[in-house]
């Protein structure tokens, strides 16, 4: 081995010399030097165009340790009960990669992985968790997590809405670490237009689907499926159609759209017709459909509460406990039987009931979801179909976590901090077959494939500098551009608004802006997953790896497919990595020795150093293929299962 090393050292010295004189040689080809001019890979500005992240409270560390210890006690009690042998503690390298993917949604950079491996600090794991929770990466990662649950789309409901301010608001709430219960209440009770109160985006996402809205809300925040009861008594759970309607009555008054023909609102007549015909009178050739119409329609979306609107049982109601077309009073399906008092807003009463610490499923749902996020399996699984008879693998633990979240005043980030501190989360990962019928008792976190977003962001981590500054253009200034008083607006105002919208905020304009700023070959936008359009086209890398189209709650998957492999083999992103100007290329080329280079490659891609076997394989390849050998090794490692799966 030593002899081989010294032999290779000579070869590598030769390469260093070669590289010194020709730093732009690409790993892609042994002979052909690339374009020596500027790299085609964009460099981020380093400026972060996002609100500051509120740092975690370092003074709570003793409490965190106490909670984490209690969790481990409860987990270990079940090891004994079920005769489970826990996995050994994960190595620093595995931990570093896992915690980055779990909290920052990407693998560590070479530098991060290397520094962590060198550090002798006994508290380095705790410090890394805090560091990552304070980062924009964490906001971005949690945004992707919620985007899948909340079905975020840039233009939901037949492309008519403009929802980006809502998405920016979610990122802001994550940055400020708004308590979860408060965040949910804001979404459920928000009123106004989306650019003045972006939280209305939650209700607007279900515009025109009042009953589905209730179904979705309950599924997302209470982990309970009552949708079947929309049309008939639930076949598998206990909900009756009447209970569904009673529950729905709370939110039924939520209006998401103003009618242009609404006489009480527009006593002088339909403003859309007026503005269109006035525009045509001014300029008969002007297209009053297109963007002109889009601006008008965007102004019709507005959320308010019509307290007089009553929900009735359907005309074909078939059960004995009610009559067809009978008005249904609001009543919750479980928990505290709150009533809507005189002068009270039903939405607000509902939001209060749902997010109350007393609600038996509100806190439980989110801790179960966070547990699943950390370990791959919920304490109750599936997490979105909790029933009275659902079997929990560790009821005492679920109970404890639920109480903890209430104690923490719904600080979900603090809960994640606790989970990362537990021994069980620090253990080596475990293979668990999806067909397994046994309840999982957590010998360690489950081995999982990266999500599509984690994969994309990880590839970008290796490819571009200043990764966190690759953002999408914000909608700051949208309100001033687009907000119209429809009663008094003039066609000139609408036309002006349409023009500015077209130049700055439309999908086309946004794409142009992003292409100019961070694109590869002027066609592939390189922004992190949370900063790309929603939904992405079905042939986009991220969609191919399982991001959903954001039509259904949690539509994302981590299933494999042949087209994923093709993308990894031949797609632009993996090959971009091998070009001069990519982070990994530069790091490798700037290293002095062959051994260093191999370590850099392994630390950059797999967050660990090469084993002896790895080293021998890599060296043999580099010996055989020269400079292109580096490219082959990098490309091959990116295509390994070890890269794709989170240990």
């Amino acid at each position: 081995m030593r002899r081989l090393n010294s032999l290779l050292f000579v070869i590598s010295m030769a390469l260093v010399v070669l590289c010194d004189i020709a730093p732009a040689i690409a790993f892609q080809s042994p002979n052909k030097a690339n374009d020596k001019s500027a790299s085609r890979i964009p460099r981020g500005s380093g400026k972060i165009d996002a609100p500051a992240v509120k740092p975690v409270d370092t003074s709570t560390i003793a409490d965190i340790q106490k909670s984490a210890d209690r969790i481990d006690e409860l987990i270990e009690a079940n090891y004994k009960k079920h005769n489970i042998k826990p996995n050994a503690s994960a190595s620093d390298a595995v931990y570093c990669r896992r915690v980055h993917l779990h909290l920052a949604g990407r693998i560590p950079t070479f530098e991060e992985a290397y520094q962590f491996s060198l550090s002798k600090d006994a508290d380095k794991r705790t410090k890394l968790v805090d560091h990552l929770l304070n980062s924009h990466d964490h906001v971005s990662h949690m945004f992707n997590y919620w985007a899948d649950i909340l079905r975020l789309q840039d233009n939901p409901i037949n492309n008519n809405q403009i929802a980006q301010p809502y998405h920016e608001w979610i990122k802001k709430a994550l940055s400020e670490n708004t308590p979860y219960d408060q965040w949910v209440r804001q979404m459920i009770t928000a009123e106004g237009r989306i650019w003045e109160n972006p939280a209305v985006g939650f209700s607007m996402r279900d515009s025109g689907m009042e009953l589905d809205h209730v179904d979705n809300t309950v599924q997302v925040f209470l982990g309970t499926q009552i949708g079947c009861a929309q049309c008939h008594d639930h076949p598998f759970d206990r909900w009756t159609q009447k209970e569904f309607y009673q529950m729905s009555a709370f939110l039924y008054g939520t209006q998401t759209r103003v009618g242009a023909g609404d006489k009480s609102r527009f006593p002088d007549g339909n403003p859309v017709e007026r503005l269109r015909s006035e525009m045509r009178a001014l300029d008969p050739s002007y297209n009053t459909n297109g963007l002109y119409s889009r601006v008008l329609i965007a102004n019709m979306f507005e959320v308010w509460e019509n307290r007089g609107k009553r929900l009735k049982l359907p005309h074909d109601y078939q059960y004995d406990n009610g009559k067809a077309n009978e008005v249904v009073p609001a009543k919750p399906i479980f928990g505290d039987p709150v009533k809507v008092g005189k002068g009270e807003s039903p939405r607000t009463v509902f939001a209060g009931w749902m997010t109350s610490p007393e609600n038996p499923r509100f806190a439980k749902n989110i801790v179960n979801r966070m547990w699943k996020k950390a370990f791959g399996v919920g304490l109750i699984d599936p997490v979105n179909d909790i029933r009275d008879e659902s079997i929990c693998s560790n009821p005492e633990l679920l109970e404890f976590l639920t109480k903890e979240l209430v104690r923490l005043k719904f600080d979900v980030r603090e809960l994640q901090r606790i989970i990362c501190r537990t021994q069980v989360w620090n253990r080596q990962s475990q293979v668990r077959e999806a067909t397994s019928e046994e309840l999982y008792q957590f010998p360690g976190p489950v081995l999982r494939r990266m999500s599509a977003e984690q994969l994309w962001d990880s590839l970008l981590t290796m490819a571009v500098y200043n990764f966190e500054s690759f953002t999408r253009p914000s909608t700051t200034g949208l309100a001033e551009t687009i907000d119209l008083d429809l009663k008094t607006a003039t066609p000139q105002q609408v036309k002006k608004a349409a023009e500015v919208f077209d130049a700055r905020y439309s999908t086309v304009a946004q794409r142009k802006l992003t292409l100019a700023r961070n694109s590869y070959k002027n066609r592939t936008v390189l922004a992190r997953a949370s900063e790309l359009p929603l939904p992405l086209p079905s042939d986009h890398f991220i969609r191919q790896f399982g991001q959903g189209d954001r039509e259904l709650i949690e539509a994302a998957n981590t299933d494999g497919s042949v087209s994923q492999m093709l993308t990894m083999f031949n797609g632009e992103i993996t090959h971009m990595m091998l070009e001069s100007g990519s982070v990994i290329y530069d790091d490798v080329i700037n290293a002095k020795t062959l051994n260093d280079r191999i370590d850099i490659i392994f630390l950059s891609i797999l967050s660990r150093k090469a084993t002896d076997t790895d080293e021998a394989i890599a060296k043999a390849e580099i010996q055989d293929s020269g400079n292109a050998g580096y490219g082959n090794v990098i490309w091959a490692l990116i295509n390994t299962k070890e890269f794709l799966f989170i240990q």
């Binding site: 459909n289 999806a434 081995l447 039509e551 093709l566 993308t567 031949n570 394989i617 082959n632 390994t640």
Partner: protein, 433 residues
């Protein structure tokens, strides 16, 4: 397997079914997995022998005006500028912008009595493709994934179904396994994405890289023996096989001679149809070709709007049917022209037509279809169906019947709910040969 499913409650059944999909290692095992799913979900019912082995489904995105295409109303206010022309079948006429298809009327079954329940594009298209209303809790499979699921792939190297066009907001495989997902081809001229190696990479280099992957992977693979990891090994092998497959060229329409390419027409629908024919030759089950631009709220008769689209459709369909016939493929290929709903008889103040779910037209031709006929009719203005009401579910049932897919079988979705391929749809008997 059966006992496992019986034991499992409705929700764990979801996990079991998903995991079958996931553990179905590679294509060779898939038909077996399908069998398991079917036999577990219900007993008995066998797949009837159908005539169509392949389907080319042309979807006119945006809602094609029935009055200006297959259901003209000449001489009425509703008829607009479109007149009628006689066809190769005495007594039958269609719109004057479809002269080539008129000559092929003996091959076509035109359904003029289509009617649907929604006038919103997304919901309407979803209903057409899946037979189900779009709801928040379930994503239903489109017909191509059904066909791949039930009939299995006929060419193990290529995808079972393909969607040519933007394919955004397409229901795809719904709750079926990812194996049955349509392969998206955004642009027929470009073909299947990422099948070209970068120019610098030679065949030998690719082999080197493959060897490296398996060397670097061996420690990880022996540490984690998991079906999910193993499945990736299989996808990987399949991808290599696809790249090596001589059938991959099916996706490359530039291999057609200029005469053929121009016969189909140098436009999206023409080139899409040509790609579809190439894929049928290589036994791909179901190809959907999307053709947008039919949402003519304004200036419907302006040259670049409806008329251009109709002329292109006319050329593409005619060339496709001729070509399939010449190659002996028409007898096993069903061709469908569909859209989400119709357009209003009234021409609006912008010289366009608005959404009209009450009546619209679809066309079937080829395998399993009795051509030379018009099914159903609308009233004098094309407003409502007077005879032979056919819902989207009925059209899908007809297509499924022509392909021999079972209509009465219940399939259990991920959420444990039973579904039929065309919901409660009934095949239109008169259309089937």
């Amino acid at each position: 397997m059966r006992t496992l499913l019986r034991k499992a409650g409705p929700q764990t059944r979801r996990d079991v079914l998903t995991s079958i999909a996931r553990t179905a290692l590679g294509v060779s095992v898939v038909p077996f997995a399908n069998q398991m799913m079917n036999s577990a979900a219900f007993a008995g019912s066998s797949v009837a022998a159908g005539k169509a082995e392949h389907v080319i489904y042309l979807f006119m995105n945006g809602a094609m005006s029935h009055i200006d295409t297959f259901d003209p109303k000449p001489g009425t206010d509703a008829g607009g500028e479109t007149t009628a022309i006689s066809t190769s079948v005495p007594g039958l006429s269609i719109g004057n912008h479809l002269p080539l298809m008129a000559k092929q009327m003996n091959r076509l079954a035109v359904i003029r009595s289509m009617t649907t329940e929604t006038g919103a594009h997304e919901q309407g298209a979803y209903l057409m493709r899946t037979s189900f209303k779009m709801i928040g809790s379930t994503r239903h499979p489109f017909l191509g994934s059904w066909m791949t699921h039930v009939a299995g792939k006929a060419n193990k190297d290529l995808p079972g179904c393909v969607v040519v066009g933007a394919a955004n907001r397409h229901p795809g495989q719904g709750y079926l396994s990812a194996e049955t997902a349509p392969a998206p081809v955004a642009d027929p001229k470009v073909g299947l994405q990422n099948t070209q190696s970068p120019k610098y990479l030679k065949e030998d280099d690719f082999k080197t890289r493959q060897r490296l992957i398996s060397k670097f992977d061996s420690a990880f693979k022996s540490k984690y023996e998991s079906t999910e990891v193993e499945a990736y090994v299989d996808y990987y092998k399949e991808a290599v096989r696809l790249l090596k497959s001589s059938d991959l060229v099916a996706f490359d329409i530039s291999r057609e001679d200029e005469k053929t390419r121009s016969a189909y027409g140098n436009h999206r629908v023409g080139q899409g149809c040509l790609l579809a024919r190439r894929l049928v030759e290589k036994k791909v089950r179901f190809i959907e070709v999307e053709f947008g631009g039919w949402d003519n709220h304004n200036d419907i008769y302006m040259a670049t709007n409806l008329i251009e689209k109709t002329v292109q459709l006319d050329q593409a369909v005619t060339a496709l049917l001729d070509d399939l016939q010449q190659r002996g493929l028409l007898s096993k290929t069903l061709v469908v022209v569909a859209t989400e709903f119709g357009r209003t008889p009234k021409i609006n103040q912008n010289a366009g037509r608005d959404h009209h779910p009450g009546a619209f037209s679809c066309v079937l031709a080829g395998a399993g279809i009795k051509g030379g006929q018009i099914i159903g009719h609308t009233d004098s203005s094309g407003r409502s169906v007077e005879d032979g009401h056919a819902l989207p579910q009925d059209l899908n049932a007809t297509i499924a019947s022509a392909c021999g897919l079972p209509l009465d079988k219940e399939f259990i979705s991920g959420a444990g709910r039973p579904f039929r391929i065309a919901d409660q749809g009934k095949s239109i008997a008169a259309v089937l040969s």
